[in-house]
């Protein structure tokens, strides 16, 4: 089972296991990580599951689609080059150990 390392706004880290095919957003909410709001439930409609992907993992992700790119322009916290919507990152074995930082606000 691949793991995701969540770096919380207060500096703590939380390591959570998920199933391949689950999104990073689903893994975060199932683990009760409150910094991921995910108001729309994973449809890339609300930009409240914004994360900063550790740059060393960025190249292993499929690039964002057009609608994710547009929603990323509307995040509450600053958009950075490694910004992604966690609902659009599907976990797989090659992503085992992926680290994502949670911004200090989503709304």
């Amino acid at each position: 089972m691949p793991d995701v390392v969540f770096q919380l706004p207060d500096g703590r880290e939380q390591r959570v296991s998920g199933q391949p095919g689950e999104s990073v957003m689903q893994i975060a909410t199932a683990a009760g990580i409150t910094g991921i709001v995910a108001e729309c439930g994973g449809s890339a409609m609300c930009a409240t599951c914004h994360v900063y992907v550790d740059p060393q993992w960025l190249g292993r992700l499929s690039p964002p689609l057009a609608n994710e790119l547009e929603m990323l322009e509307c995040t509450a916290a600053e958009r950075l080059p490694n910004s992604r919507l966690s609902c659009q990152i599907k976990l797989s074995d090659v992503l085992d150990g992926i680290a994502v930082r949670i911004p200090d606000r989503q709304q």
């Binding site: 009760g32 108001e39 449809s43």
Partner: protein
């Protein structure tokens, strides 16, 4: 009184409902440090879960699991007692207690009703037919997903958001689909004619059969199945039928307790019902629209979440009136519809071009002021529209519709 032994320093809060609104009240109370002693009463056997995927990803992918808002351990750690598959059956406002189906009595200091809405059914069509689904809950979605795997053809009655979302999901699964709408166009209550027409053309181009202005009349039932539906006087065979003909507020519990109800539970801008000890939020409420004061009922995730936040503020004795700009979305195959603000029949409409033929927004102006924006495959314009409406900043239509300038530039 099995569960009435609350600590003396805890003013117990009981929440009735298992949808987005109930989940958001729990989250808000926990953030405010008020989770201990809260009781959450759910009719369904599931912890609160995300409902929007039920008509989309959940139907299309057999492995897709329910997405709970929070895990069981989160509720437990916060001190929230969850009662699953145990609906509230009566409220005693004098004693301040709620009785559950299991016989449990829960005493409350404040009660929050988040009872939602239920799908409307066709009058005279009996319940319990094997091949008829009204999609509302996880159990409905599980049943629909199984039926879609076996039945050949899907008939959808109702050309609203849920009906069209289910129709588009079934089409993606390779099913043939007929959508029957009795109104002269699709999405009559939800979007402008321009957006509705684009939706119609897109679905038809993808092979969906969409009929508007049809009369859906009688039906024939054999054993426990719906055999035929009479459409414009013609008896038409049915494999699988989904009813998407709107929803009605679930306020039986509130009515029986003598709370004022009128197309929903009547609340003020602080989400208080006619009894100050009782609040109501989400799809089940009839609330005053902040700009006009007109009474309104909305069925949306945004309304559920934001009314929940207003309720938490009231519960924490820091009341904040509910003033959120409404927004909605619908995802139907490749169509992404996002609406901000409320449409109005007396609005003047302007079209703003998007980045492709399949992308545009319709801007609604009432008395010269931007009142709402519908965006088709234009999420950036939608997010800018929300900001404009939140700040109340007005942009003249000829400026806002200049597509060479991002709408965001006017925020």
């Amino acid at each position: 009184m099995s569960e009435a032994d609350f600590g003396a320093d805890t003013a117990p809060i009981v929440i009735v409902g298992g949808g987005h609104a109930a989940a958001q009240v729990c989250a808000g109370l926990v953030t405010a440090g008020r989770g201990a002693g809260v009781h959450l009463v759910c009719e369904e056997p599931e912890l609160p879960y995300q409902r929007p995927p039920l008509s989309k990803a959940f139907l299309k992918q057999p492995q897709e699991a329910l997405q709970h808002h929070r895990p069981e351990s989160w509720f437990a750690d916060a001190g929230i007692t969850v009662h699953l598959a145990d609906p509230a059956v009566a409220i005693d406002r004098v004693e301040r207690s709620v009785r559950l189906q299991s016989g449990k009595h829960l005493c409350y200091d404040r009660l929050v009703l988040a009872t939602g809405a239920r799908g409307r059914r066709l009058s005279h069509l009996p319940d319990g037919l094997q091949n008829v689904v009204v999609l509302r809950s996880a159990a409905d979605a599980v049943r629909l997903r199984e039926l879609l795997a076996h039945e050949g053809h899907l008939t959808v009655v109702g050309g609203g958001f849920i009906g069209l979302e289910v129709a588009a999901s079934a089409l993606a699964l390779g099913r043939t689909v007929d959508v029957l709408e009795s109104a002269p166009r699709l999405l009559m209550r939800s979007v402008s004619p321009e957006v509705a027409d684009h939706v119609l053309q897109t679905h038809r181009a993808n092979g969906m059969v969409v009929r508007v202005g049809v009369a859906v009349g009688g039906f024939r039932i054999g054993a426990d199945r719906l055999e035929t539906l009479t459409v414009d006087g013609v008896e038409t065979p049915v494999d699988l039928l989904v009813l998407g003909i709107g929803a009605v507020p679930e306020h039986a519990l509130a009515s029986a307790a003598g709370l004022q109800c009128d197309n929903g539970i009547v609340v003020d801008e602080f989400m208080q019902t006619s009894d100050p000890a009782v609040l109501a939020i989400g799809d089940c409420t009839n609330f005053p629209e902040p700009t006009t004061g007109h009474r309104l009922r909305l069925e949306s995730v945004q309304n559920a979440n934001d009314q929940a936040k207003a309720a938490v503020a009231t519960l924490c004795a820091a009341p904040q009136p509910y003033r959120a700009v409404p927004w909605f979305w619908s995802e139907q195959g490749s169509l992404r519809l996002q609406m901000a603000g409320l449409g109005s029949h007396d609005a003047t409409r302007f079209r703003r071009k998007g980045s492709s033929d399949a992308s545009f927004s319709v801007l609604h102006y009432v008395a010269g002021r931007l009142a709402s924006v519908e965006s088709v495959n234009a999420p950036l314009d939608h997010m800018a529209a929300r900001k404009l409406l939140e700040t109340g900043r007005n942009v003249a239509p000829e400026i806002a519709c200049e597509s060479s300038v991002p709408l965001k530039a006017h925020v």
